[in-house]
């Protein structure tokens, strides 16, 4: 199979104690990522996609946080590593870029100084050498007149240039894993494309692995080799990117795909929003966590918890759905042909148990 994974996450659980109760932000997530590959993690806000990745960096450690399970980088266990061990890994082996490049750069420090600091946190080099390295990286990510720009402040740059600075800062120590958390969400569409191309090019040149966190399936299609769809702290479907788009198995994934506008569909066709709101992570729904919003819910799904398991005939495609495989395929076929969820339900021969599903969640 694929080469030995760089990053192995196994049954990761992260919970925060809050005044309202324990928030189970990540509840048993497992995945593996090989060097040079890109995993897209997709989900709504609050699905745990950011928390699970921050945990890789040790950035969720706090007094009110409980982390269990295993995160191995090159075989080294990170969950039990000391704060100092993790600090040595952060920005060195694993780097991260964030959603809003303006608020993520320190407004009062010069760009060059911020990069120099990143170099010198891990390398014992002079400021001069570190600055040369910083300028080299700024040039690499396509910042014109990099040496002069390094003397400037973040607010003097455009949004796209700022994100390039963030990328340069992340790559300055040649990390083997880059975690990109919604790297293009705050940017203009044209700039988005440039940044994605840049990430793709840098990855090809350096062979680093990328975890790409996004709510935008379009970005996943562009960059990711594999996709994990997260819902309420768990992975509900995982597959190679092409498979996610051509043969998705989970009703939540169908919902995500249905909420993207498509050119080949007639204009009049409604975009299908997923009904309801993301569930509370303090008191998650029983059974399948998606059941309150699932148009195809059966009575049993409210009690039984689904397991993430391979779908028939494709070991690389995992889904956590209680519907049987044949029904799922028929539902998807109908949806792909443009049917609304209730039409699809009829086409697949499912009885109309569903209306309860659309009922609003009880107030918490």
């Amino acid at each position: 199979m694929s080469p030995r994974p760089l990053l192995e996450v196994d049954d990761l659980r992260v919970s925060f104690a809050t005044e309202d109760g324990v928030v189970r932000a990540v509840d048993g997530v497992s995945y593996a990522l090989a060097p040079g590959r890109t995993l897209g993690i997709v989900g709504e806000s609050g699905s745990g996609k950011t928390v699970s990745s921050l945990s890789v960096m040790g950035l969720t450690r706090a007094r009110n946080t409980r982390i269990s399970g295993s995160i191995r980088l090159d075989g080294r266990e990170l969950v039990t590593a000391s704060d100092e061990e993790l600090r040595r890994i952060r920005g060195n082996d694993v780097a991260m870029i964030f959603q809003d490049p303006l608020s993520s750069l320190h407004p009062f420090f010069r760009i060059g100084d911020q990069l120099v600091e990143a170099v010198r946190a891990h390398r014992d080099v002079s400021k001069r050498e570190a600055l040369d390295r910083a300028v080299e990286l700024l040039e690499l990510v396509g910042i014109p007149d990099a040496r002069r720009r390094a003397q400037g402040y973040p607010h003097e740059l455009s949004g796209g240039m700022r994100q390039r600075v963030m990328i340069a800062m992340a790559l300055v120590n040649d990390p083997r894993l880059l975690i990109a958390d919604e790297p293009t969400t705050a940017l203009d569409v044209t700039v988005q494309a440039q940044i994605l191309q840049l990430l793709g090019r840098l990855q090809a040149e350096r062979g680093m692995a990328i975890v790409l966190i996004t709510h935008d399936l379009g970005i996943v299609a562009e960059l990711a080799d594999d996709v994990a769809v997260m819902y309420a702290g768990r992975i509900v479907e995982q597959a190679p990117t092409a498979t996610i788009f051509t043969a998705p198995e989970h009703p939540y994934t169908w919902g995500l795909l249905g909420s993207i506008p498509r050119l080949e569909r007639p204009r009049g066709d409604d975009l299908v929003a997923i009904a309801g709101r993301p569930p509370s992570l303090i008191n998650p729904p029983s059974g399948c966590r998606f059941h309150p919003r699932c148009p195809y819910v059966r009575e049993a799904h409210r009690r039984v918890e689904p397991v993430l398991e391979p779908v028939p005939r494709d070991p690389r495609h995992l889904a956590a759905c209680l519907l049987d495989a044949a029904t799922r395929r028929e539902l998807w076929r109908a949806l792909e042909a443009g049917a609304a969820p209730d039409e699809a339900r009829r086409a697949a021969g499912l009885s109309d148990e569903a209306p309860a599903a659309a009922a609003p969640e009880p107030a918490t």
């Binding site: 950035l59 964030f98 993520s104 750069l105 407004p107 402040y153």
Partner: protein
């Protein structure tokens, strides 16, 4: 930037003019002792009082007195002479300014070190026992009146009356140039007393701005870079949180430079705060004018300096 400074400086002049005018108006419009009568001594003759009145120029209408005052101030930087004992006001103030500056700067150092230190400690462990203790202590320090705190501190520590006589008490001030060690020792209690309320306010200010700063995205970035937590807090955090603290410190320094009447009185330090206080008792208008003008000057200059500092501290600010 230069234009901005010039414009602001012009405003300083306008403001000082307004302040001295108001002082005049208040002095003449509200009941005050008659300076001539006070000066004339015990049971003077009417002629003598009248002569003194003429000598001090008090027989003229007050707007004319104000114009005279302004003229000598603008043309000769002359603040006039004391009604009480004829000393030149300018000299009298300059003589007492060093004591006030000593009290103010020392207290500033104490309250900044204590306030920022406690604020950071609290902000890095919000809700902890240490944090609650510090903020509770701050509340007490803010609530304690300065004169009370001053007296209690002397009852506790002053070498003459203290239970634990380890520090020089009241009226021990000596100029720095004469006896540095004596100067320092005599100011320890005044510094601590004057600084305590400010330190408490600054601790709370630093705690809240620091808490807000530490939740910023750029702090997460600093951690993601692999910086040591100490550097994250002390460099990235403090640098982000310090601007309002510098602003407040500049303004508060301007205020205490104008004389801290209570501390100077309680500890019997010959500064301009006590000078102003005495001048009011003696209906010594030129001295009141002089001390008020200096106080106002310190405050408006502090304001100007703070605004300029602000642009330097925050590269996004442009004037």
């Amino acid at each position: 930037m230069t234009r901005y400074i010039v414009r602001r400086s012009l405003w300083v002049i306008v403001l000082l003019f307004a302040v001295s005018f108001l002082t005049f108006v208040v002095f003449y419009l509200f009941p005050s002792a008659d300076p001539a009568l006070l000066r004339a001594g015990r049971s003077p003759s009417t002629e003598r009082v009248e002569a003194i009145r003429q000598q001090l120029g008090l027989d003229r209408a007050w707007p004319l007195q104000f114009l005279d005052y302004l003229k000598s101030l603008v043309l000769h930087f002359d603040l006039g002479y004391s009604f009480h004992n004829d000393v030149p006001i300018k000299e009298a103030i300059f003589e007492r300014l060093p004591a006030t500056i000593s009290v103010a700067l020392g207290a500033l150092v104490v309250w900044l070190v204590a306030g920022i230190g406690v604020g950071i400690i609290s902000a890095t462990r919000p809700g902890s026992r240490l944090d609650r203790l510090a903020m509770g202590g701050a509340l007490v320090a803010i609530s304690a009146p300065v004169y009370w705190l001053g007296l209690v501190s002397m009852y506790l520590f002053a070498s003459d009356i203290g239970v634990l006589p380890i520090l020089p008490g009241q009226a021990t001030y000596v100029p720095l140039t004469e006896d540095p060690a004596g100067w320092f020792g005599s100011l320890i209690l005044p510094w601590l007393v004057l600084a305590s309320a400010y330190a408490a306010i600054y601790a709370r200010l630093v705690r809240s701005t620091m808490l807000e700063t530490l939740s910023q995205d750029y702090i997460r970035t600093a951690r993601a870079k692999g910086l040591r937590e100490r550097r994250v807090v002390m460099r990235h955090g403090l640098r982000g949180a310090i601007t309002p603290v510098v602003t407040a410190a500049g303004l508060d320094l301007g205020i205490v430079l104008g004389g801290s009447i209570l501390v100077e009185t309680v500890f019997n330090i010959p500064g301009i705060g006590r000078q102003a206080f005495e001048a009011i008792g003696q209906a010594d208008l030129p001295m009141i004018q002089g001390t008020v003008l200096f106080g106002a000057l310190f405050i408006v200059v502090a304001n100007l300096v703070v605004d300029i500092l602000y642009a330097w501290l925050d590269p996004r600010v442009r004037y």
